[in-house]
């Protein structure tokens, strides 16, 4: 028993010593601390983004780290809870002295922490940004397109490529997202001159039976419906339409439903489900664009999803920028390097990534159209190139 206690004490002292050299903002020769705040438990969970970032950093560490220093990556859980999200950010930024946040994916982290990041002069490359604050803060620049540009893209694809008229929107609004979705729809109107036939922004998250909303949309004469759903809700809506015998409706959805599981669960997709994938479609197994990512994920048993693509890219962008820093790597030098970086192109995305000094970061404007047709149970490429929001 005593030997165990002694061993424990020695370990603790050793850990304390090891940590001593790297307090503050990680100067010198200790590990470079990088963190992320994620939805790892709670109502909706996206563990893949930070897991993918960790896989990238582990691979980098195995090949010698950055300038001889190892990267120490800490992925904390926000439990879908504002208080926990705030505490997690303070632990990483304040206590651990992280140089940057990389690969975060959460439903509310940006909203809660963006002001704190500004105060602490630390930047965050989110793997997947969801809430509007992720795209409206000077200190956060997600690797993904985001649901708002994605909605503009899905509407553009529906009206311009599929030539659908009478497009309607059923929006599931959580928190303060309505103005951002409205802006995305207005953007589409500005580009095409077309308007929605009908919009219902009262559709609930996690509703059990969506029949009445579907009936209402059908009566309004909708031929296509754009929704911003989470997977279970979308399946509920499709089933409600199928039960009503409404089989000629086209669904213009977002990357939030792009998963193998969803495809397996959908047998009747009406006249088709179309999604502008925020990254090069991961279901295209032989694609050269995703080869490196796919191998790394498979090796580490991380699910192949859009979330793991986001986390992977965020970590890659970060590594590339940090490797170019001459001199000490600390929060200040990393922030400066990200603000002055050259754009990084990657075949997995349609828009080169740049953090830069902007007041907001919402510049990723390309999605790859994919479709899910009735009875196929699998996602297919709908086009052979990126769909972009036209520059006005």
């Amino acid at each position: 028993m005593r030997s165990v206690a002694v061993a424990a004490a020695v370990t603790l002292v050793a850990a304390g010593c090891a940590d001593g050299g790297s307090s503050g903002s990680g100067g010198g020769s200790g590990p470079i601390v990088v963190g992320s705040v994620n939805a790892l438990s709670g109502a909706a969970t996206f563990p893949e983004s930070s897991a993918a970032a960790k896989a990238v950093f582990d691979a980098a560490n195995a090949s010698g780290g950055v300038g001889g220093r190892q990267i120490q990556y800490k992925a904390l859980d926000d439990k879908g809870d504002p208080a926990a999200a705030a505490a997690a950010a303070r632990e990483i930024v304040g206590a651990d002295g992280a140089v940057a946040l990389v690969g975060s994916s959460s439903l509310l982290e940006c909203e809660i922490n963006n002001k704190y990041y500004e105060q602490q002069k630390i930047l965050s490359i989110s793997g997947i940004g969801v809430d509007p604050a992720c795209f409206n803060s000077p200190n956060i620049s997600p690797a993904n397109v985001g649901p708002y540009h994605d909605m503009t893209l899905t509407l553009l694809y529906g009206s311009e490529t599929l030539k659908l008229d009478n497009i309607c929107a059923l929006l599931e609004i959580a928190g303060n997202t309505l103005p951002s979705y409205q802006a995305a729809i207005d953007e589409w109107t500005k580009i095409t001159g077309k308007k929605l036939t009908y919009m219902d922004a009262t559709v609930p998250y996690g509703g059990s039976d969506y029949t009445s909303y579907i009936v209402k949309a059908r009566q309004a004469g909708c031929k296509a419906i754009t929704v911003n759903p989470v997977e279970p809700d979308s399946i509920g809506q499709l089933k409600a339409a199928a039960a009503q015998g409404w089989n000629d409706v086209t669904w213009l959805l977002l990357t939030s439903v792009y998963s193998e599981n969803y495809a397996k669960a959908v047998s009747n997709a009406g006249a088709g489900i179309y999604v502008p994938a925020e990254f090069y479609p991961f279901t295209d197994a032989d694609a050269a664009q995703n080869k490196e990512w796919r191998e790394l994920m498979t090796k580490n048993n991380i699910p192949l999803t859009s979330f793991s693509q986001g986390g992977y890219l965020a970590a890659k962008y970060f590594l590339q920028v940090v490797k170019g820093i001459s001199g000490d790597i600390n929060r200040e030098s990393v922030t400066k390097a990200l603000q002055e970086m050259q754009p990084i192109s990657d075949p997995m995305v349609g828009t080169p990534y740049v953090f830069g000094k902007g007041k907001t970061h919402h510049d990723n404007t390309a999605g790859w159209p994919i479709k899910l047709m009735s009875g196929t149970n699998k996602w297919e490429l709908a086009e052979q190139d990126w769909l972009r929001i036209p520059k006005n």
Binding site: I235, Q244, Y262
Partner: protein
């Protein structure tokens, strides 16, 4: 409004069946079973797993799932009638809350929190009224709720078996002293309601949102419906379920009111409680 009400009937039928189960449980075994729909959800999830990962045909997997839901419910009944035989209704019901949370967590652990690829047993429209399609699921749930309520009523009032059940619920100790087998009967009631709720959830789950939480929480509107009959009357429980579903559907048609529809079960619960207590005098009601 009428079209919305018809659209809400499928949910109404589901609430009605669950409300009948809740009423039976409260009348016969002195429990408000909060895990009523959770046992059904768990049975369904196992059925999906059997059909997708094990490769059983859909009908066989569904049958196994229903049997499992029935067994889970019977097990819970056995536990409660063994260790909490003399406890009051509040204590016995509290145990089922723990089971509700346990089953939700367990399904997250076993099956993840992504939607399940349910294969529909019934799919598509049955007939059309006024431009609103009434789906096959709606027809089946509504008919099922009425048939079950009538069947139970006939059983309870017209057979000696029903008489024994009623005796057990009114005076459990006396009934046991007279030689009525209390525990097997109680477990039987648990098993029957478990079977019913798993059956109805198996029918409905493929045609609506079917994540563990929303399926398990169906017990809330069902409880509101059962309250209309004061957890005693089966006919009013059916009416309550159907009306609640139709009211939710109708409210969803009006933009300004559609927010209300999700509070509706709670509003109904509060309203009915206030109404049922309207004649109580202060110290008597305490």
């Amino acid at each position: 409004m009428l079209q919305g009400a018809l659209a809400g009937l499928a949910a109404g039928g589901l609430y009605a069946v669950l409300a009948v189960c809740l009423t039976l449980m409260s009348r016969l075994v002195r429990v408000v079973n909060f895990a009523q729909s959770a046992t059904g959800m768990f049975g369904c999830y196992v059925a999906v797993w059997l059909s997708v990962d094990v490769g059983l045909p859909t009908w066989a997997a569904t049958v196994v799932g229903i049997v499992l839901g029935c067994g889970l419910s019977a097990l819970l009944g056995w536990i409660i009638s063994t260790w909490l035989a003399e406890a009051d209704i509040g204590t016995r019901s509290a145990v089922t809350v723990a089971v509700l949370l346990l089953l939700i967590s367990l399904s997250f652990i076993l099956f993840g929190n992504k939607p399940q690829p349910f294969h529909p047993i019934l799919d598509g429209p049955a007939f059309e009224v006024n431009g609103v399609v009434v789906s096959q699921v709606t027809v089946v749930t509504v008919v099922l709720s009425v048939v079950v309520a009538l069947g139970c009523r006939a059983l309870l009032s017209g057979t000696s078996f029903g008489l024994q059940l009623r005796a057990l619920s009114e005076r459990p100790t006396t009934a046991e002293l007279m030689g009525i087998p209390a525990k097997p009967l109680a477990v039987g009631v648990w098993a029957a309601t478990g079977l019913l709720s798993t059956l109805v959830i198996s029918i409905v789950a493929p045609s609506q949102s079917n994540d563990a939480t929303s399926l398990s929480m169906l017990v809330v509107p069902a409880a509101a419906a059962a309250l209309l009959g004061g957890f005693r009357r089966l006919d009013l429980a059916v009416v309550g379920g159907l009306v609640l579903g139709m009211a939710q559907g109708a409210l969803a048609q009006v933009d300004s009111l559609s927010v209300v529809r999700y509070f509706l079960p709670f509003l109904v619960v509060v309203g009915l409680l206030l109404w049922s207590q309207r004649k109580e005098v202060w110290d008597v009601a305490r």
